[in-house]
Amino acid sequence: MVSNTQIEVLESLIWDALGRVQDPEIPVLSLVDLGMISSIKISKELIEVYFMPTFTGCPAIDMMQKMIIEEVERTTAIKTAVIIDRVHAWNSDMISEAGKKKLVKFGIAAPNIKAGCGVTMLDLQSVDCPFCESNDTVLRSPFGSTLCRAMHYCNHCKQSFEQFKPVSH
């Protein structure tokens, strides 16, 4: 049997390892920042990582699963499996505060409303510009370069920018 202390140490090692796995489409954010890991289960022979994709059709899912396995196995030397969590669904409130700051610094506006209350077109207007912080912005399209982004335009600094879309559950 593995002792409780050993499990605690192992668990924190695993979370650290997951914190080093970056979103391939936004390489400054880890899967932990994005809130995509719902739980981990540890036994002597197997680590199971439960993973919630941001969008059902995200083409990076396979790649992220492989990256998780690689990083966790490298850190712990225990066989690792990634399981898509069917019980819990990701929503944009799960992005951590640190994650939201990193997004803005990267030039992508963070989701601006609390998910779960039903996103409307109005919510997508007047998103703060990640470059000049002005609120004088307009939505250009609710779809952008990846499934999780919308396109906006800032009337103040005259730049187009993207926003990580608010998604409710």
């Binding site: 059709g57 990701w90 039903g118 879309k165």
Partner: protein, 253 residues
């Protein structure tokens, strides 16, 4: 629970998503403006993702073929999508009006399915409805723009696209073989209930943006998709969609 009826329900939903996803991807590179090109492409990616998730449920819960095989190696008769989604993209206004009518139906379907007694479907519906919400918002924005705020030409083109597609859209709600089992088991509210919700929302929205629904709309010319009867447009679509996969079905991607 009636497993056969649930399987039939999931198949038609998966095939609808797969075929409309493929059709809308035909706008990639030729959209009327760049944002629309990207929007239709993004929505296609969402839809194909939804089909994939539903084929996964069929594979895991019902022992059907895996998602890729199921999507790409069935005969035409085995696809249970409604005929509406297989129609060619036509002019932009046809694709837009179809997108509005179809996604409104999808939104209501998934809204109701999040309360399904069949857990794998309820869980997926909770996830997918947030994504479909964006599709509906997108469709309504452009319908509003072109019908209410457009010029005479855009108004009349949207109206005639609506006249043409409305009867086809009614056939989305073609009933399954054992609808009452699904309703009694609390799996699904049933196509008739869904149709009533959809009609109420569509007619209120169309009235608001100055469009009128065709008075004598009849779905009968477009029924049969749910039983595997399709128009002449599905076979060429499947030939194109499955072409690469069928070159070597055992290839690792």
């Amino acid at each position: 629970m009636n497993k056969e009826a649930i399987k039939e329900l999931i198949y038609k939903m998966a095939d609808d998503a797969m075929i409309i996803g493929h059709r809308n991807s035909e706008w990639t590179g030729i959209g009327p403006v760049l944002e629309e090109d990207i929007a239709f492409s993004s929505m296609s990616q969402d839809k194909i993702g939804h089909a994939w998730a539903l084929y996964d449920v069929l594979h895991e819960q019902f022992g059907e073929k895996d998602a890729d095989k199921n999507a790409f190696s069935r005969s035409e008769k085995e696809y249970k999508n409604c005929q509406f989604v297989e129609m060619p993209i036509g002019e932009y206004e046809f694709s837009l009006v179809r997108h509005y009518l179809f996604d409104k139906a999808e939104w209501l379907r998934y809204e109701s399915l999040q309360h399904s007694s069949y857990l794998p479907l309820a869980q997926l519906a909770k996830k997918m409805r947030g994504e479909i919400k964006y599709h509906v918002m997108h469709a309504e924005t452009w319908m509003n723009q072109l019908a209410l705020h457009g010029n005479e030409e855009s108004k009349s083109r949207i109206q005639s696209a609506l006249n043409e597609s409305y009867p086809m859209a009614l056939a989305i709600f073609e009933e399954g073989a054992d609808e009452s089992a699904l309703i009694n088991d609390g799996v699904f509210i049933g196509e008739q209930a869904l149709l009533a919700l959809w009609k109420a929302e569509v007619s209120a929205f169309c009235a608001r943006i100055g469009l009128s629904l065709p008075e004598k709309a009849d779905a009968s010319n477009y029924l049969g998709g749910r039983k595997g009867y399709h128009t002449e447009h599905l076979a060429p679509l499947l030939a194109e969609m499955c072409e690469v996969y069928l070159l070597d079905p055992s290839a690792e991607w």
